[in-house]
Every structure is written in C-alpha cells, then in structure tokens.
Point group: C2
Chain length 164, copies 2
Amino acid sequence: MNTTQQNLFVHTGLHNWELSLKRATAFFDKYSDEELLQPIVPGKNRVVYLLGHLAAVHDRMLPLLGLGDRLYPHLDEIFVTNPDNPATTLPAITELRNAWNTVNNRLTEQFRNWTPEEWLQKHTAVSDEDFAKEPHRNRLSLVLNRSGHVQYHLGQLVWFNKKG
Amino acid sequence: MNTTQQNLFVHTGLHNWELSLKRATAFFDKYSDEELLQPIVPGKNRVVYLLGHLAAVHDRMLPLLGLGDRLYPHLDEIFVTNPDNPATTLPAITELRNAWNTVNNRLTEQFRNWTPEEWLQKHTAVSDEDFAKEPHRNRLSLVLNRSGHVQYHLGQLVWFNKKG
C-alpha cells in the first residue's frame, strides 16, 4: 500500500464528513429564523433545537480530538443537557447559525491537515489502556460517528414541512 | 505506515457499518409484526416500510460492490420505487426480517475478507473514467454512505412509540 492509497482512506472518510455537513447546512439555510422555531412534526423537537444540538455536539469534538478548547460551551445547557423546551430563552438564531458554520469550518480545516497517522491517534475520551486493546477508537472513528449523528438528525429534519 | 495501520482504517470503517446494522436490527427486533404495521408518526411511513426499504437498498449493494447477484430484487417495487402504501399487499414480515439479516450477513462476511486494496476498488456504479478522476468513489465510500443511510432512517424510527 503506497502513500496514495493511505491518503485515499483519509480522503474517503473526510468526504463522508463533509457531505453530511453540506446536507445539514443546506437544510438549515433553506429556512427562515421563524420557520426554525416550528416543531419538525407535531409534538417533536423544534428545528432550532437540532441546529443548536448539532452545533454543540460538534463544538465538543474540539477537545475530544485534541484540537483546543471549545468555542461555545454555553450551548450544552439548552441543547444537550436538556430536552427542547419552548419556554427556554434561546440564543439569537443568527448566533446559532454562525456557531454551526464556525465550528464545522474549524474542525474541517484541521482534519484536512492531519496525516494518515494522525487520523489513527486516539481521541481524548479513551484511556491509554483501552486504546491499546481497542485501536479502532481513533479520531477517524469519532468523525465517522459524528457524521452518522448528523445523518440521524437529518432523517428527522426532512420530515419538516413535507408530506409523506 | 505499516500493515497494522492499513488494517486499522479498514477496521474502523467496518466497525462503523456493523454498529449501524446492530442498532437498526435491535430496533426491528424490539417490535412485533403487528407493531411494524403502524406508522412511525401519524402521516409518515410505517415501520415495516423502512424495514423493507433498508433490506432492498442493502440487497442492491451486492452487485454494486461486485459481490454477485441480488437475493431479493422483488423488494424494489414496493419498498424503493414506490412510497409506502397501506393498500399494497406486503411480503410476510418474517420474510422481510429474514431478508434484512441475510443480506447484511452476506455483505459483512465479504467485507471482513477484503484486503485494504480491495476496499479502495471502485464500485460498479462508477465508470473507469470517473474513477480515475475521483478515486474516493470506492467501495469504502459506498459502505460508509449506506451506513449513514441506516442512521438517517434510524433517526426517524426512534420517534416510533416515544414521547418528545
């Protein structure tokens, strides 16, 4: 296996991540701030909750991947720790849209600079002992997992404003 | 990069695929045939439609990945080509559960035998010309994409029989 092939594994994983972000961003960009305050389907989360939730979860990836401190830790209280609650005062939706784009750009720029070896390093939520036994708990695994998490919520989001 | 590292990329991608299958299978196994005939949420697909849909889409992976002929091509008409229609006569739900497990086992067994080089081969829906320009359109990419597709529908399925 040559360098080109090594890089192809990395490129394929990165492409998967970028495609998920692109789809989710296209979804959020399509709707006005007012529309984001509607529930996806009656009785379920509001669209804005998933925007804030995804931004917070991706922000948590920065320390998990050893890429520095979080940018938006205050989002956790509303969008991760607690379920959606229309009585809660939300940050401005512009701020949430901005957080989503900023954190994704920061992550993706760093991912593009990683060597294949750096992709296979452990993420910080795994102990050295566990990583020795389970070396697939690496950064690539975390990125693929979060890409799948975006898809999971996209499956819900597409039910907004649609029949069938 | 040594052989262990090469195999780690493969192992990480495979793990992502297997985890998605495990979660979806656990979901379908939790509900009776009768429950599968309910809509996920009012006005949306029935659970059984997604079982058949995922089985059909995974069955289509066999020829796409050069792993032989399809096992269940008759599922396409009901579960891919057409939207869910309660007036359509469905195959027995036992047959659908069986198709889902059989095709996933067949795929996963083959994936486990692929070398890193085999993971990077093109899938059959890409032309030689396109693949030369876009070598990330390989088998790994297709498998990660389908894993994301499972996640996408899982996000919908978890809304079945749940509050919030």
